[in-house]
Symmetry: C2
């Protein structure tokens, strides 16, 4: 019998250095809302998405490429940028064929860490593109790291729940000796049928719902409504 | 209405620096097996326990104080030390009135980090002394950090389950906006009635059960069998 590849879940970018990243596929998870918005924009025809950490880079790249710039702080569009972080802002009628430069903090940081540490492939995952991610990981036959972007390195539940959803679907194909993965799957199974009410207890919900984003957050935990596979190639996420 | 103090759960020493430790009570949790063994030895009359990280310090302090030295690597007593890490090695007939110098890696590291960052009080927690810890935290009316010692900074389930047990009992006395705490309590509630079978799925179980320590591990998740409050004072843990 062939050995199955390993799967680990990383609960915070602050713990990534404890794991062997080299030659693994890393799935960047930032459910509220970066990776959900990325999936939605690509699903609706965006040519590519360039994730950047700094606002000034977002503005500069947007100008250079004549691209759509986006980013929020405290529920408002950042000064100098054009759009926000909501998936609802990127319907096909607007984003089809365009390049989006998106400012995110937690997710972009983790993505660059994974690349620096030798990940063989980096993609983004979120409930809207759950099945695409799972399908790819099952076919790839490589070690996998499910990387939760967390919030300023603090553990968060929504990213963990997504990791659990992935594990629940693909665990038979992997060797999993990882308490984080065991916990993530348990939490997903516990809450998969009360997701909309459970996410109302999370700290991130409290942070964002103050800005009237409840509909957004519910969309972000809905399965397969933007079923695309965003893979990082030549500095941008593209649908493959 | 007076504001309730805050309670946070830290899932790994690698995440402690994200939290305000100053003036908080920090509970060091290392269920398999350091803090369970500490509770047991103090409950059985040990005068004090000196936790040290390095084997050479353990030997030197043991000699200086004519104390019992203890520590294990890979399930065996470390060369130069006298005893192991099992709670079963410290019955009253042996440990009453003695000083124990115990080498632990994960728990000792976290304890010193908490002191360095200005914790107002540091104590150890484990299932054998669950009620004592909860009783003290409810009376103290201070901010609390439940610190999981983890395994080489990787998240572990047994420490998380203990944090969840504490939260389950004392949450009404605290303000809790912390996804780690929410998760820990969920996991505890999910597994409180199948604890003996569930811990057999954890990575730490697989690590230690190879050394025939199943009985030890079951003891370490049993409530209130060594109900003492180990508090760190003048370089040692003492029962208060």
């Amino acid at each position: 019998m062939q050995n199955k590849p390993y799967l680990h879940t990383i609960l915070s970018p602050g713990l990534l250095n404890l794991y062997e990243v080299k030659d693994s596929i890393v799935v960047i998870i930032d459910v509220f809302r970066a990776t959900s918005t990325m999936a939605t924009a690509l699903y609706n025809g965006a040519e590519k998405i360039i994730p950047v950490a700094k606002v000034e880079d977002c503005i500069a790249i947007g100008k250079e490429l004549n691209a759509v710039t986006a980013g929020e702080r405290d529920g408002k569009i950042i000064e100098g940028l054009q759009h926000g972080n909501s998936p609802a802002e990127y319907p096909r009628s607007f984003i089809d064929g365009k390049t989006l430069v998106l400012t995110t903090t937690n997710g972009t940081k983790l993505l660059h860490m994974a690349l620096d540490k030798g990940a063989v492939e980096v993609m983004t995952g979120s409930f809207p593109n759950l099945s695409s991610v799972c399908g790819h990981l099952m076919k790839a036959n490589k070690n996998v790291i499910l990387g939760c972007s967390a919030w300023k390195d603090r553990f968060n539940l929504e990213d963990t729940l997504f990791a659990g959803a992935v594990i629940n679907r693909i665990k038979e194909n992997f060797t999993i000796h990882c308490d984080s993965s065991l916990m993530a799957e348990d939490m997903y199974n516990l809450h998969k049928n009360d997701m909309y009410s459970f996410i109302r207890k999370t700290t991130h919900w409290h942070r964002l719902s103050a800005f009237g984003l409840e509909k957004d957050l519910e969309f972000c935990v809905t399965h397969d409504v933007a079923n695309v596979l965003p893979v990082y190639k030549n500095g941008a996420l593209v649908a493959v």
